[in-house]
C-alpha cells in the first residue's frame, strides 16, 4: 500500500508541470489543440462523410448534403443585378463577393451572391461560404476571435484553434482562432470542392480512399 501511494504521488508530481503548462497556454489563448490547414485528402474524408466521395457534384448538391448532415436548411440566393443593383456595388466596395447568414435557432443558413459575378467566381464564392459552415466557423465565440494580418505560411505549419459554441460541424478539427486563416481554409475547401466535384471518381484523392493497402 505505501508503495502504491508513493507511485501515485510520483505520477502526480511528474504530471504537474505538463498540466500547468497546458493550463497556462489554454487560459491565455482560450484555444484547443493547434492544427495545420486542411489538406485535399482530409477534405476527401469530409466528402465521404457526406456521401459525395467518388461522385460528381455541383455547389447545390454539396449544400444539400451538408445541410442534411448538419440538420439545417441551406438556401443559396443568386440575386440578379436587376432585382437589387446596390448589392453588387456594396459587396464590391466592402471587398467581399458573397455573404452568409446563419441562424442556429431557426436551423437555417442563407447564402447571398450577386448574379453578376463571373460563373467561376460565383461557384467558388458559394463553395467558400459553404466551407465556413462545414468548418464550424460560424460557431466560433466572438470573444475567441483573433484579429491581425495573416502572412503566407507553409502548408505544414500549425495554428491555434478556437473553442466553439455547441453545434454540429463537418470538420474534425476546431476552427482557427485567426479570421484570416479561417478565410484561407474556406478558400482551400472551395478549390478542393470544385476539383472533387468535377473529377468525381477520377480524383486521385477519391482513389486513395478505396485503396488503402
Amino acid at each position: 500500500m505505501p508503495k502504491r501511494g508513493f507511485g501515485n504521488v510520483l505520477w502526480k508530481e511528474l504530471g504537474r508541470p505538463w498540466r500547468q503548462l497546458r493550463d497556462i497556454s489554454g487560459a491565455r489563448s482560450g484555444c484547443h489543440e493547434p492544427r495545420s490547414l486542411l489538406t485535399a485528402a482530409e477534405f476527401q474524408e469530409e466528402l465521404a462523410i457526406l456521401g459525395l466521395s467518388c461522385r460528381r457534384f455541383d455547389p447545390k448538391d454539396y449544400a444539400d448534403a451538408l445541410g442534411d448532415y448538419l440538420n439545417i436548411c441551406i438556401n443559396i440566393h443568386v440575386i440578379p443585378d436587376e432585382w437589387y443593383p446596390e448589392l453588387s456595388r456594396r459587396l464590391a466596395i466592402s471587398g467581399r463577393l458573397g455573404e452568409i447568414r446563419y441562424s442556429e435557432r431557426l436551423t437555417l443558413a442563407a447564402i447571398f451572391v450577386p448574379g453578376s459575378l463571373p460563373p467561376l467566381v460565383l461557384t467558388l464564392t458559394i463553395l467558400h461560404e459553404l466551407g465556413h459552415l462545414a468548418a464550424g466557423d460560424l460557431l466560433v465565440d466572438p470573444s475567441e476571435e483573433v484579429g491581425g494580418s495573416h502572412h503566407q505560411h507553409s502548408e505544414e505549419a500549425e495554428f491555434a484553434t478556437a473553442s466553439t459554441r455547441k453545434g454540429k460541424k463537418l470538420a474534425r478539427g476546431f476552427p482557427f482562432a485567426e479570421e484570416a486563416l479561417r478565410e484561407r481554409e474556406a478558400n482551400l475547401r472551395a478549390s478542393y470542392a470544385l476539383f472533387a466535384g468535377c473529377l468525381g471518381n477520377e480524383s486521385p484523392y477519391a482513389y486513395a480512399m478505396y485503396s488503402v493497402l
Binding site: A41, L97, P118, L124, F195, Y210, L213
Partner: protein
C-alpha cells in the same frame, strides 16, 4: 531433427523465398506501405520458423512460446490492415480511412481498437500457456483443455477482426461509382481476409478435436482439417497477391491537381474577381461606354453571344492591365501571361481539360457548363496580351476574328491602347469591318443618348395651362 522441427524448417524456407519474391518483384514494381510491412513480417516469420527448427523444443513451455511467436505475424498483419482501414496509421504514412469507415464512426472506433484487442488476447494466451503448458507445436497429439484455451484466445479475436476487415473491404468495393479495377482489388482483399478468418476459426476447431476427439478417429479428422487449412492458406495468399498486383492509376495525378489548385484556380479566381470588383466599384469608368459600344457593334455584325462575351472580356482585361488604381494592381501583363500559360497547360491535357467545368448559371434549371477553353477569359487574355504587346510597328498583324478587331478598335478609341499603324493592318479587312461596325454602334448610342436627354428635358419642363 523431429517432425515438428522439419516442418518448421520447411515453413521458414518458404517464408524466406516469399520474402525474396516480395523484394524482387513486388517492391521493385509497386512499393506500398503494406508491401514494406509484409516484407518485414516475412523476415520475422522466417526467423521464427528457423529458430523453431534449430532449437530443441523439448519443453512444453518452449512449445507454447514458439506457437505464439508463429501466430504473431498473422496477428500483426490483421492489426495493420484494420488500422490502415481505419486511417489510424501514423500520419507520416499519409493514411486516411477507407470510404465506408469514414462514413461510419462506430466502425472506425472498432477498427482502431483492434490492435489493442488482439495484443491483449495474445498476452492473455501467453499467460494461460505458461501457467498451463501444452504440446502446442505438435500436430496430432492429444492436448489438455488449456491448449484449446490458448488457441481460442488468439484465434477467435483474430477471426472476428479479419471478418470485420473483410466486411469493410466488401463495403468499399460495393461503393457506387467505383472503377472496376478498384472493385476487384477490394474484393480480392476481402477474400484474403475471409481466408485468414476461416483459418483462425478452423484452427480453433482443430484444437478442440485435439482436446476432445476420441483416439481412433482423431488423426483422420485432423488430417482432413489440416488439408482444408492448407486450401484456405493457398486461397488467402493468391487473393492477397491478386489484390496487390491489381493496379489503378487515376487519370489525373495528385501533384498536377495540387499545382492547378494553387496556381491556375487561384490566379483565374483573382483575375475574375478583381475585374468584377473594379467594374462594380466604378474603378474603371472608361469601360462602361466602351463596353456598350462593343456589345452593340457585335450585335450589328450578327456575331454570336459567345464572341460578344469574348470581346467584352478583352476590353475589360486590357482596361484592368492599363489601370493604375490599387484595386487592379495584381492584374499585370506578367500575371496575365502566367495565367494564360497555366490555362494552356490544362488544355494540353485533353482528359483533364474536358473534366474541369463549372455551371454558367446556377439559377437556371437547364445547366450549361463553362470550361477553361470555353470561358471568355481564356480568349480575352490572348487578345489582351496581343493588343498590349503590339510593340513592333513595322511587323504585320496576323489574321484575327472580328470580335478581336472590335475589341481592338474600342480599346484604341477609349485611349487604352494605341491604334495599330497602317503598315501593320495591310490586308486586314476584318479591322476595317470592325471600325465601321464600331463607328455605327457609337453613332447609334450617341443618338440614343441625345434622344434620352431630350426626353428627360421634355418631361422635366413645367406644364403650361392651355
Amino acid at each position: 531433427m523431429s517432425a515438428a522441427q522439419h516442418q518448421a524448417f520447411v515453413l521458414g524456407s518458404v517464408s524466406f523465398v516469399a520474402f525474396f519474391f516480395v523484394i524482387c518483384f513486388v517492391l521493385s514494381s509497386r512499393r506500398t506501405k503494406f508491401s514494406d510491412f509484409a516484407a518485414c513480417n516475412l523476415v520475422f516469420v522466417a526467423a521464427t520458423f528457423y529458430a523453431v527448427a534449430l532449437l530443441d523444443i523439448s519443453g512444453e513451455r518452449t512449445e507454447v512460446f514458439l506457437a505464439i511467436m508463429t501466430e504473431l505475424p498473422v496477428v500483426l498483419i490483421v492489426a495493420w490492415i484494420c488500422l490502415a482501414l481505419a486511417g489510424g496509421l501514423p500520419s507520416h504514412l499519409g493514411a486516411r480511412p477507407v470510404e465506408p469507415v469514414a462514413r461510419r464512426t462506430w466502425l472506425r472506433k472498432v477498427l482502431e481498437f483492434t490492435p489493442i484487442l488482439l495484443l491483449f488476447f495474445v498476452i492473455l494466451a501467453c499467460v494461460v500457456g505458461l501457467i498451463r503448458p501444452s504440446p502446442a507445436m505438435h500436430l496430432y497429439a492429444p492436448a489438455p483443455p488449456a491448449f484449446f484455451a490458448l488457441k481460442a484466445l488468439i484465434m477467435i479475436p483474430e477471426g472476428f477482426c479479419s471478418a470485420l476487415a473483410a466486411l469493410t473491404f466488401i463495403l468499399a468495393g460495393r461503393s457506387s461509382g467505383l472503377r472496376g479495377r478498384l472493385y476487384f482489388k477490394n474484393l480480392a482483399f476481402a477474400v484474403g481476409m475471409l481466408g485468414i478468418a476461416s483459418i483462425a476459426f478452423e484452427s480453433t476447431v482443430v484444437a478442440s478435436f485435439r482436446v476432445w476427439a476420441s483416439e481412433e478417429g482423431r488423426q483422420g479428422i485432423l488430417e482432413k482439417l489440416i488439408a482444408l487449412e492448407t486450401c484456405f492458406t493457398v486461397v488467402c495468399i493468391l487473393a492477397f497477391a491478386a489484390g496487390l498486383s491489381l493496379r489503378y492509376t487515376p487519370t489525373v495525378a495528385g501533384p498536377l491537381l495540387h499545382r492547378l489548385q494553387m496556381g491556375w484556380l487561384h490566379a483565374q479566381e483573382q483575375f475574375e474577381s478583381l475585374e468584377w470588383r473594379a467594374v462594380n466599384t466604378g474603378a474603371a469608368d472608361r469601360l462602361t461606354t466602351a463596353s456598350d459600344a462593343v456589345a452593340l457593334a457585335c450585335r450589328l455584325r450578327n456575331l454570336p453571344e459567345s464572341d460578344t462575351e469574348k470581346a467584352l472580356a478583352t476590353i475589360r482585361v486590357v482596361a484592368m492591365m492599363k489601370d493604375p488604381s490599387s484595386e487592379t494592381r495584381y492584374i499585370t501583363p506578367e500575371a496575365a501571361r502566367e495565367l494564360y500559360e497555366l490555362q494552356e497547360e490544362i488544355l494540353r491535357d485533353s482528359a483533364l481539360s474536358s473534366k474541369i467545368s463549372w455551371a454558367v448559371n446556377l439559377r437556371s434549371r437547364a445547366q450549361e457548363y463553362q470550361t477553361v477553353k470555353s470561358a471568355p477569359l481564356h480568349h480575352a487574355l490572348r487578345a489582351a496580351l496581343d493588343l498590349i504587346d503590339r510593340q513592333d510597328q513595322n511587323s504585320r498583324i496576323q489574321a484575327r476574328p472580328l470580335w478581336h478587331w472590335i475589341a481592338a478598335v474600342s480599346a484604341a478609341d477609349a485611349k487604352i491602347v494605341d491604334s495599330p499603324a497602317p503598315v501593320q493592318l495591310e490586308g486586314q479587312d476584318g479591322y476595317r469591318t470592325a471600325v465601321e461596325a464600331y463607328c455605327a454602334a457609337k453613332t447609334t448610342l450617341q443618338k440614343l443618348d441625345t434622344d434620352d436627354r431630350e426626353r428627360r428635358v421634355e418631361y422635366g419642363r413645367p406644364q403650361t395651362q392651355a
